[in-house]
């Protein structure tokens, strides 16, 4: 066959530029002193430092986990710098004081921060290396009582909320990477939606890694109080660099009675080159607690970047009638690896969860779905529906599925569907015979395959996700 489906051409990574900006980077290495330094730089209260140190002391005793279906060399945690910030005035009064190079960087990434260029309907928190650069639309959100700011600011300004909820979903000793994050996290976003408020804007955080030999350890905490509703989106990218960079984030979501949190991710960290050199290790812990009755947490992720993606955004369905959802598209091309999926823990009565996972492997990519659905004793009438579809493009890639099911209540109803298909020569030929190019044909077939997930994304980002998918599969067919 001469369609050249296997033909590999180096795809251009479009966000791989480096911003030349003077940065303050603490020397590589991790110790209690480094943690004290980070905490001091952030102007944190004592309780926060204590929490970090507790996490650190746990972390040093924890072994690095290796149960995932991915391969990578040893990570030298003493060779990473744990804090990098562009040099600027410590307290910014307004946007005019932000270094124009930073504004330019975000504009190049399609995230304009300046007032006249802002995306309509989306409030953005822009995080550059270890610090939040700016958060837009804050005043408008404040009118509704919504707090949306950098987490470092929330620790100073809203300590009562942070103390109550930080670590309440992902404890500081939850796992190796979560413990590391708890010790050294630098910035990230904080959102609080008060009772009965429907957030009028999409909240969004854009993470940009710029400095080399640094790690990114952001922490996000979103609290939806009773009867509130919020939709949040995170995006990310990083320059092209030859070394691997570690990104170990933690995201915690708390939904109280009748609250809904919709959390969408478009992950586009640098994936490394065609030989597997460079790229981000994306080792992230994300978990949402449906703490209240009738609460809902919905995760949607589109993972096209990173050398290795290793994460399981999950839901703890504590409240009766609560709902957890997970919609995922994970693409691995070239030598990318992904081991991703979700955990749905049913505790309350009449809890429901839905899992729709689409894995696409091209080049020499390896794609693993791993998911756990656990129905606890008290979770009467729990329901789960899982659907895991894998698509293979070419014959050097792999798809793997590990669904774990643990049911301890006989009233549970579980449905699981799985499929693996090779992208059809016949489908591609059919589309070509109608005049479409090979790339458009593949992009169309893949987009159709992912449609059930894309339709869960906020409108503004669904188009972006489709485009990104096209780019990340560029060169996977001839």
């Amino acid at each position: 066959m001469s369609t050249g489906i296997e033909a590999q051409v180096l795809q251009p990574y479009k966000y791989g530029f480096i911003t030349d900006i003077e940065a303050e980077v603490v020397p590589p290495g991790l110790s209690e002193d480094v943690i004290r330094l980070i905490s001091a730089k952030k102007g944190e209260p004592e309780w926060m430092l204590d929490w970090r140190l507790k996490a650190y002391r746990n972390w040093v005793k924890m072994p690095e986990p290796h149960w995932s279906n991915v391969k990578y060399g040893p990570i030298d945690y003493q060779a990473i710098s744990y804090y990098a910030a562009p040099k600027q005035r410590p307290q910014l009064e307004n946007l005019e004081q932000v270094d124009p190079k930073l504004l330019e960087t975000f504009e190049k990434l399609g995230i304009p921060i300046e007032e006249r260029k802002r995306l309509t309907g989306v409030a953005v928190d822009a995080v550059f290396d270890s610090v939040s650069v700016a958060t837009t639309f804050r005043e408008e959100l404040a009118k509704h009582g919504i707090i949306f700011c950098a987490i470092s600011e929330a620790i100073r300004e809203h300590p009562e909320l942070v103390r109550q909820y930080l670590g309440s979903v992902v404890p500081y000793n939850d796992n190796f990477f979560a413990a590391l994050n708890s010790a050294v996290f630098t910035d990230g976003s904080f959102a609080y939606i008060p009772k009965g408020v429907r957030c009028p804007l999409e909240l969004s955080t854009y993470f940009r890694i710029n400095a080399s030999a640094t790690g990114q350890f952001e922490r996000t905490l979103i609290i939806a109080d009773e009867g509130s509703h919020v939709s949040y989106l995170e995006g990310c990218s990083a320059p092209i660099r030859d070394e691997n960079q570690l990104h170990a984030a933690v995201v915690e979501l708390v939904a109280l009675d009748d609250a809904t949190i919709k959390y969408s991710t478009i992950q586009n960290w640098y994936p490394g080159d065609e030989n597997g050199r460079g790229g981000i290790y994306n080792f992230v812990t994300k978990r949402g607690a449906c703490r209240g009755r009738n609460s809902k947490v919905s995760w949607t992720q589109v993972e096209t970047g990173s050398a290795i993606t290793w994460k399981y955004p999950g839901c703890i369905l504590q409240g009766d009638n609560s709902i957890g959802e997970f919609y995922s598209v994970a693409v691995t091309n070239q030598r990318q690896q992904a081991d991703t999926g979700t955990k749905m823990i049913h505790m309350g009565k009449n809890t429901r969860s839905t899992i729709v996972s689409k894995g696409i492997s091209a080049g020499r990519g390896q794609n693993t779905y791993r998911g756990l659905v656990k129905i606890l004793k008290g979770a009467d009438n729990a329901r789960n529906y899982s659907q895991c579809d894998s698509m293979l493009i070419g014959d050097q890639c792999g798809a793997h599925t590990f669904p774990y099911i643990d049911v301890r209540n006989s009233t549970a109803i579980m449905e699981h569907e799985a499929s693996t298909s090779k992208i059809g020569e016949d489908q591609i030929f059919y589309a070509k015979q109608r005049g479409l190019s090979a790339e458009d044909a593949v992009s169309m077939i893949v987009n159709g395959f992912c449609k059930e997930v894309f339709k869960e994304l906020p409108m503004e980002f669904a188009v972006e996700a489709q485009r990104l998918l096209g780019i990340s599969l560029e060169g996977s067919v001839g």
Partner: protein, 252 residues
């Protein structure tokens, strides 16, 4: 001359299926290619469209004076070659409307024409949809997914009508259609006949030729055209079957 095939040989998985096909099609003509199972009819259709599973081992194909075999499948389509598939594939998650519009726009773009927006396109589509007896609901369904055999064939003819090619190759479009559907499909195809285009109908049966009168009928047997004639040849085949031709070919 729109299409000129000379001494075409083609193999699939190393097996020779076409063993020296000669065929000339002028604009304004409808040619029927008939023949027993396994004679190479569908292979000929697939080779003309450029399916990668078939290897051309000898011969030439000129289309509008150009070397058709040197063109990619999408280039052939953009130049006006259309194949109505015997077994159309399904594309999940992509609506019929989107697929059709993408195809039309790919071709319009190639010709340097302005691409259709979604609304304009729907307007342009209404008449064609009516011709094959369909309502809008078929447009929002995923391409061929869950379609019956007959619906898939009708969908091919809808695409044919919308793309309006120079050379239409219909690969057993009539098989699997009931009498009414056959009539509708044949009528749509017949209405597309113009002095500046041509149709090659690959078929097993005489039936469709009562609705679409062919100018020339060819019999393909064992990878070669063994007999050509007017539309009366089709009737003769209907009465006598193919065996007498096979015997004649063996003697020759």
């Amino acid at each position: 001359m729109l299409l000129e095939i000379k001494n075409l040989h083609a193999t699939v998985e190393g097996r020779e299926i076409l063993r020296g096909v000669d065929l000339a099609v002028n604009v304004g003509e409808v040619h029927a290619i008939m023949g027993p199972n396994g004679s190479g009819k569908s292979t000929l259709a697939q080779v003309l469209a450029g399916h990668p599973a078939y290897a051309v081992t000898a011969g030439t194909v000129l289309y509008q004076g150009k070397d058709l075999l040197a063109m990619t499948p999408e280039a052939r389509a953009r130049e006006g070659v259309f194949l109505a598939f015997q077994y159309p594939v399904a594309i999940r998650g992509i609506t019929n409307a989107y697929f059709l519009r993408s195809a039309v726009n790919a071709i319009r773009k190639y010709r340097g024409e302005e691409e259709f927006g979604p609304v304009e396109f729907m307007d342009a589509l209404a008449e064609k949809l009516q011709a094959i007896g369909w309502d809008d609901s078929y447009l929002s369904r995923p391409v061929n997914e869950g379609f019956s055999g007959g619906e898939k064939k009708r969908n091919e003819i809808l695409q044919l009508a919308v793309l309006d090619p120079k050379l239409a190759i219909l690969d057993e479009t009539d098989s699997g259609l009931d009498i009414d559907a056959l009539k509708t499909v044949a009528h749509t195809v017949d209405k597309l006949r113009r002095p500046d285009n041509a149709t090659v109908l690959v078929t097993h049966y005489y039936r469709i030729l009562t609705h679409i009168q062919p100018d020339v009928v060819h019999v393909l047997s064992n990878g070669r055209i063994v007999k050509s004639g007017g539309k009366e040849l089709a009737l003769e085949l209907e009465e006598k079957g193919y065996d007498w031709l096979r015997e004649a070919a063996a003697v020759a």
